[in-house]
Amino acid sequence: MLGYIVNRLLIMIPTMIAISIVIFTIINLPPGNYFTTYVAQLESSGEASDLAKVQFLETEYGFDRPLWQQYLYWVGGLLHGDMGYSFSYDLPVNKVVGDRMLLTAIVSITTIIFTYLVAFPIGVYSATHQYSWTDHLLTLIGFLGLATPSFLLALVLLYLANVYLGISIGGLMDPKYVDQPWSWEKVLSLLAHIWIPVVVIGSAGTASMIRRLRANLLDELQKQYVVTARAKGLHPFRVLFKYPLRMALNPFISDIGSLLPQVISGAAIVSIVMSLPTTGPMLLDALRSQDMYLAGSFLVFMSLLTVIGVFVSDMALALLDPRIRLQAGRRQ
């Protein structure tokens, strides 16, 4: 078991290296760099640009050096915890990202909790009342949420919320609370705004989870020991919760690894559409203007979180399911 853990931890290192190389290459594929894009934008809008100053900045930040040198410079900084400098915001990347991480985390965690809270009871109900009309209805709703494009759903809900509930469009709270310290009103405003992105992002993940839980549970409920338990007169709830449900929980835990990146990237599109102050819109802007450090460092950071998340979910599954632990031991 210990060998397995150490193995997994060691594999993370070449994974991260490969990811950083891919990120760096893709961001630098379009011709030019942040400065050429910036100058082009200035000139096309009629503003004069100080070309000598731009060239000076380019040499200062090493954009005239060969690509592999730029890559090593960047990775070296990352290893020291220095994510670099964002040119479009004119601030260190840590500062730009740091402010948004809290709200991104709130949205993501709320979405995951929402997904679990909704998927779990519906999945259990669907499995125990298979083919009843409520089962079909709930499945239909789940699939509708899965099929509708998230940005369209977001826009519709945004409009309806503004017209019928008076909630301000876009953003995670009423504009007047943005810079104020946390207070009860601010939390309430946050809750009033956050339900739209949570519902939109969560609805896609909910459907798949419902179906999976339903399928697993149905498999378990057909087995011999369940029939025996029922025949012996055990209460139906006890029959359900004591053993079959535990088996069916496996996908919930193993899915954390894939749910986290799905929620974060789904959140990116919805955040951009709804103008939320999270990391999604910031990332899009950074990629468009080829702000190397902001985009690249942030993506590496998110990949690191995902890799660690997958690792944690695998460990949690091993803890939850003795079969995995014992099998792993036996193979050794």
Binding site: P30, P31, G32, T36, T37, A40, Q41, E43, S44, G46, E47, A48, D50, L51, A52, K53, F56, E60, Y85, S88, Y89, D90, L91, P92, K95, V96, D99, L158, Y159, N162, S168, I169, G170, G171, P175, V178, D179, I272, V273, M274, S275, P277, P281, D285
Partner: protein
């Protein structure tokens, strides 16, 4: 004799009283600062306002806050643009008048004597004097570490800097050997030429004046590479992202970036007052909230902005009008400033030799222009509310003449076909498309920068009408940097972009857009580059008309009288109209301007232009104020028919 003296005295008194500019009158304390004045942290209003302030006619009341929507943290610079505190500025009638300066004397167009206002202060209470100009000129602009490219081009004549003299604490003089017509318009521009900066604040970042250890500590703390980088970072007069930087603008930034919501508070030492004794600006605070640019029309319609034009397009108009009454704002339509909203630029420097021959032929350009159905474009895209015509000055400009816009701008397929036949392009393919002299079909690829759907819509319409004269059009959207690179290199045959930026020019504005002066001009990038780099790169213009335009431009630069300037302009405009170097479509496209019901002094009809209007700048937002909703505006908006044809400019 006595009576004559008395009469003279009366006349003198009348003259003096008719110059309200420097008469202060009794000033009233601003309610926003009453508490600060009471507990001593701010001096009284009489000590804050200069002894010779700028006095404005006004009947507003101070108070309230203005909300606006922007989309990027860089938009804090818009407060410098809208605030429009300039040494000299444009009036709504587009004349230049001193604003921060008490007065300015110009001799022969080459010697400028600037008079500052006595007692004028920066926003932190320190005096604003000639020292701020001297520091900028000698220790910033002429310091190679701080300004590697030297003095700005508007200050150089024949590459020579001016002679800069400080005559006393409030008087300065800039002298050149030949006239410098670019100096004053540069000072009045939307992104102005700053020839001053807060010396008392910036000296702590300059190695010449600051203690070395203290400066090194500051550099380390800010994580920049050198004191020069720190100085330039802190001296963000236009970028407006440093809350600690003293400023002369009506509203001062109070929020440290990054943020999604920037708060600007009134400048306690602002130099303008109104005739009732209130210190401007009337509005206490301005709040800029950031949102994605695509969502701003929706947020504006929901009533989240009190004054909004940026990020609103004409096609949002009906949506905004629908929400007008419900959310207590008015939507007005202002005309935009460019000479043509969408203009086709045949590239005279294109590489392909066959196409180059053709594009240089005046008959070809005229034929292309005649084959564009401008009326259809106007009706389809702008409800018929725009002004059709060539890419040239707007009718509101004092230099405008009726023939300019209509030259070669009628829709005349017969004449276009005749011209093309005259050139010799008579052979056609089976489906009617003409053939080039070397046998290739005439297919023009028009490249655009992919930034707006308007461009692709217009190209659809032009494609259909050009088909009737036997030319196939293909639209090719490209990414911005690639698009420009291709045009500059001569790989693009034709491109589409905005037209003349300053459609409201008068004789004292620079006619640089009508002559090959810059690489940015998509119709002759290489000739423009030749001028910009003084012959180091690019090609010299060889079409006689282009050469003549260049000569006239240089004539305008050296003109010593307004009459000479006007003459140069008029001949340039005439050649421009004849030669059809760019094919304009429609101009004066209407810009929706959303104004809250309670916001007064915003003109109902105005011009929305970057140059020379600075968008809201020339209408002076510092004298906008919030009052009760005016009944006149309410009934006017209710009585207006839904489509508001502004047929006459």
């Amino acid at each position: 004799m006595k009576r004559l003296a008395a009469a003279l005295q009366l006349v003198l008194a009348a003259l003096l009283s008719a110059m309200p500019d420097t008469a202060r009158g009794t000033l009233r304390e601003t309610p926003f600062f009453e508490q600060a004045v009471a507990n001593g942290s701010l001096p009284k209003v009489d000590d804050r306002v200069p002894s010779e302030p700028s006095v404005v006619d006004g009947t507003g009341a101070p108070g309230h806050q203005l909300r606006m929507l922007m989309s990027s943290p860089k938009d804090t610079r818009m407060m410098v643009v809208y605030g429009y505190a300039r040494l000299v500025g444009y009036t709504p009638a587009l004349d230049l008048a001193p604003d921060i300066l008490k007065s300015i004397d110009v001799r022969d167009g080459r010697v400028f004597t600037l008079h500052l206002r006595k007692g004028m202060k920066w926003s932190d209470g320190q005096p604003f004097t000639a020292e701020d100009f001297r520091y900028w000129f000698e220790d910033v602009a002429e310091n190679p570490k701080l300004a590697p490219s030297g003095l700005p081009v508007e200050l150089l004549i024949d590459n020579q800097p001016p002679r800069f003299e400080v005559l006393d604490e409030t008087t300065l003089r800039y002298s050149w050997v030949r006239p410098n017509p670019l100096f004053l318009p540069a000072l009045a521009g939307p992104d102005p030429l700053f020839i001053y900066c807060p010396a008392h604040y910036l000296k702590q970042f300059n190695e010449k004046f600051a203690d070395k250890t203290a400066l090194d500590a500051l550099v380390k703390k800010a994580r920049v590479h050198s004191w020069a980088a720190l100085h330039n970072k802190m001296n963000s007069m236009y970028r407006n992202d440093n809350p600690k930087l003293p400023s002369l603008d009506p509203w001062i930034l109070k929020t440290k970036p990054p943020s999604d919501r920037f708060v600007f508070e009134r400048n306690p030492y602002y130099y303008r007052v109104d005739t009732s004794g209130h210190q401007l600006p009337y509005i206490d605070r301005v709040i800029l909230s950031l949102a994605d640019s695509k969502i701003i029309p929706a947020k504006t319609a929901a009533g989240e902005s009190d004054l909004q034009a940026r990020y609103l397009n004409f096609n949002d108009y009906t949506f905004l009008r629908q929400s007008e009454g419900h959310n207590h704002f008015n939507v007005w339509l202002w005309r935009t400033g460019p000479g043509s909203q969408l203009t086709l630029y045949p590239n005279l420097n294109v590489d392909d030799p066959v196409w180059r021959e053709l594009v240089r032929d005046i008959r070809f350009r005229r034929a292309l222009s005649l084959a564009v159905n401008r009326h259809e474009i106007n009706e389809v895209l702008y409800f018929g509310l725009a002004i059709e015509g060539q890419n040239t000055l707007l009718p509101k400009s004092p230099l405008y003449q009726p023939g300019l816009r209509s030259a070669w701008a009628q829709y005349d397929l017969g004449e276009a076909n005749r011209l093309l036949d005259l050139i010799g392009l008579t052979k056609r393919e089976g489906d009617g498309v003409r053939l080039l002299p070397d046998g290739r079909p005439m297919e023009i690829v028009v490249e655009d920068s992919g930034e707006s759907t308007e461009q692709s819509d217009v190209l659809e319409l032009i494609r259909d009408s050009w088909r009737h004269v036997g030319i196939r059009l293909f639209a090719k959207p490209l990414q911005l940097t690639l698009f420009r690179r291709r045009v500059f290199a001569g790989e693009t045959l034709m491109s589409i972009d905005k037209g003349i930026e300053n459609g409201l020019a008068n004789a004292s504005s620079s006619p640089w857009e009508f002559a090959p002066t810059s690489q940015q001009q998509l119709e002759w990038p290489k000739w423009g580059q030749y001028y910009e780099t003084k012959g180091m790169a690019g090609e010299p213009p060889d079409l006689p008309s282009a050469v003549r335009l260049k000569e006239l431009y240089q004539g305008w630069l050296g003109a010593t009288s307004r009459q000479a300037q006007t003459q140069a302009w008029q001949e340039m405009l005439r050649i421009w109209a004849d030669e059809v170097f760019s094919i304009g479509t429609v101009a004066g496209v209407l810009q929706p301007v959303v104004v809250s019901d309670n916001l007064r002094n915003v003109p109902e009809k105005g011009i929305y232009a970057w140059v020379p209007g600075a968008f809201f700048g020339i209408y002076r937002p510092d004298h906008f104020w919030f009052g009760p909703p005016s009944p006149a505006a309410k009934s006017a908006s209710a009585a207006r028919p839904p489509a508001h044809p502004l047929a006459t400019p």
